[in-house]
């Protein structure tokens, strides 16, 4: 089949264009499907429960979605290079505690504290990538170990204490609304990051290089892409985004608590995979990740409104991930069939 399609590539460029268009269509149809599911579920929640579409609930939902999107993107960027990051939650909480400490005890201005926090997140992520490149051990074990190390260090240093005295401007950003009573400023951050990543993977050379590493490492190396550099870059980016998610959460909660981040792992995979990001690398769905987070967070919120216990919602999250990967699998099978049929 592979040789077949290569022959076809040489013989008929028009066909290749058709193939590319078909695969784009498949991806956009995934996203259209997601959008429809989101719309239907929201209507159902509004009809069954009360107040799902009230401006207060939409505001709360928007704040949660903003954070979940960034968590999902922080996993997506490592999935793009065919790796994973089990330390997203650990990096997130380390950045939360560090930024909280800078603002409360060192009295660093909020913007500078945020910048330093993001830098620490990127550094922690880069270290994961560096370890993988230097030792050749797979990212699962590396990030499993560093997640434990980062969390342990954070607990040792903070003695599991919290930072609760944060500047008003910083916490106001995460609690107020802008333009109308339903829109949180956090949403602008999430949408901005999504747009930036969309641009990186669609138009920037760097994005293409990272996808090339994820799709076929050998081929990428042979065509002059530095695989180690791309791996470290992707992990650093993942750390940066995990840190950003932490800072958004900190701004919303108004206090830095060491227990944050412990439940990020599952949602970090659910959003990108639901959105159509391939687990084996080489394919990302940036807008899909946004929609995936919107679906999962919306459903969690809706189940809460129809008074289903949060424990059963965890079951739902697990099932959502299973359904998402099965759809992904189905997509791969059908698109293979299409290739064969051509």
């Amino acid at each position: 089949m592979t040789t077949d399609s290569i022959d076809a590539t040489i013989a008929a460029p028009a066909r290749v264009r058709a193939l590319v268009r078909a695969s784009r269509f498949l991806q956009s149809s995934t996203q259209a499907g997601l959008a429809i599911v989101i719309a239907v579920s929201w209507i159902v929640f509004e009809l069954v429960g009360t107040g799902f579409l009230s401006s207060f609930n939409l505001f709360t939902l928007g704040r949660d979605v903003a954070i979940d999107v960034v968590i999902g993107l922080s996993q997506m960027v490592v999935l793009a290079v065919g790796r994973m990051n089990l330390a997203v939650g650990a990096i997130g909480v380390v950045v939360v505690m560090f930024t909280g400490w800078l603002m409360q005890d060192v009295h660093v201005p909020a913007l500078l504290a945020v910048a330093l926090g993001l830098a620490l997140g990127a550094l922690a992520g880069w270290f994961n990538g560096w370890l993988e490149v230097k030792t050749g051990v797979n990212s699962f074990i590396i990030t499993l170990a560093t997640a434990s190390i980062y969390t342990g260090l954070m607990l040792i240093v903070t003695k599991a204490g919290a930072f609760r005295v944060l500047p008003f401007g910083f916490t106001d950003f995460g609690t107020r609304s802008v333009l109308s009573s339903t829109i949180s400023p956090l949403l602008f951050v999430a949408v901005g990051v999504t747009a930036a990543l969309f641009f990186v993977y669609r138009n920037a050379t760097l994005g293409w290089k990272m996808l090339a590493v994820g799709a076929n490492e050998r081929a990428a190396r042979l065509s002059g892409v530095s695989v180690p550099r791309m791996l470290q870059l992707a992990q650093a980016l993942s750390g940066l985004l995990a840190g950003l998610a932490g800072i958004l959460l900190l701004s919303r909660l108004g206090s830095a608590v060491p227990a944050l981040g412990s439940d990020w792992l599952l949602p970090s995979f659910v959003a990108p995979v639901l959105g159509g990001t391939s687990l084996t690398g080489g394919g990302v769905a940036v807008v899909g990740t946004l929609l995936g987070a919107l679906l999962v967070t919306g459903t969690t919120n809706g189940l809460n409104i129809v008074q289903i216990s949060s424990f059963w919602i965890q079951v739902f999250l697990g099932l959502a991930l299973l359904v998402a990967v099965m759809l992904d699998r189905l997509r791969a099978v059908t698109s293979e069939r299409r290739l064969v049929l051509r």
Binding site: F140, I142, L266, L319
Partner: protein, 327 residues
Amino acid sequence: MTVLSGRMPVRATATTLVRAQWSGLLLAVVAGSVALAVSTDNFATQFNQYTLLRNLSLTLVIGFGQMITLAVGELNLSLGALGGLVAVVSGGMMDAWGLPLALAIVLGLALGAACGFANGMLITRTKISGFIITLATGSAFAGIDFGITKAQPFSNIPSALVTFGQGRSGGIPYQLAVPILVALLMGLLLNRVRLGRHLLAVGGNRHAAELAGISPARAVVWAHVVSGLLAAIAAIMTVAQLASAQPTIGDDWLIQSFTVPIIGGAALAGGDVSATGTVLAAAVITLIENGLVLENVDPYWVQFLLGMLILGAVGLSRFRSARVRSA
């Protein structure tokens, strides 16, 4: 290299001992015990031995639960959640339903094996990576666990089970019988039983194993069934130790379950695990935890050290395999 003299086998045994991957671990266990016995007053007391061996019992069974999936080149992220589910279900059967102890235990173990079977079937039928499947089922198990208990523990546990979990004879906890049995059976399974050899063959080279007539799907399902069963055993041991079936049981098993077999010398690519190494690794980890408690060190160091141990162990095995290749 013909063996002529009668002394050769002895020397050969000594060489094997030194060359074995776990020789360093054995040294660490001995040196660590001596150091702790000298530097602290409480290490050598019967009560501390009891505490140490009780923790070791649990750590070991949890480690074996992950080792068996690593053997076949898989992993089980749902181990802890599965354990929690078994703990509350069997606890519930004893407390709320008043089932006989033996029946509740058997049903609990069966539930663990069934959950493992579900993991294995989902992985082999859908061909989705075991990482994602067990991440998802882990969330589902934990959700069901908390959903049926509403986060409340079952505390009316039969006294026979509690005696077994908390009783001791001198410095030896009764519970130690379980990990000894498990370790023997696992050693036997991996070295002497056809199924165990098949698991390792599939873990070592799935394609070659398939060509040799071994079904990889069957091996993967079996590994997950055994993993689920071991998680269930660990869960019931914890219920016995705590005298209560708490829904939070298993929450902190994940990192431990990987640390034990990885330090014990299991290759993550599969096909290479050592039951002896796993036992010694569990002993090292338990000693470290015990030492930190005895020296009054912040308990948060445990988490940090577990991570460092994993990195150190993988780094060391890389170094060793690089030397073997260049030799």
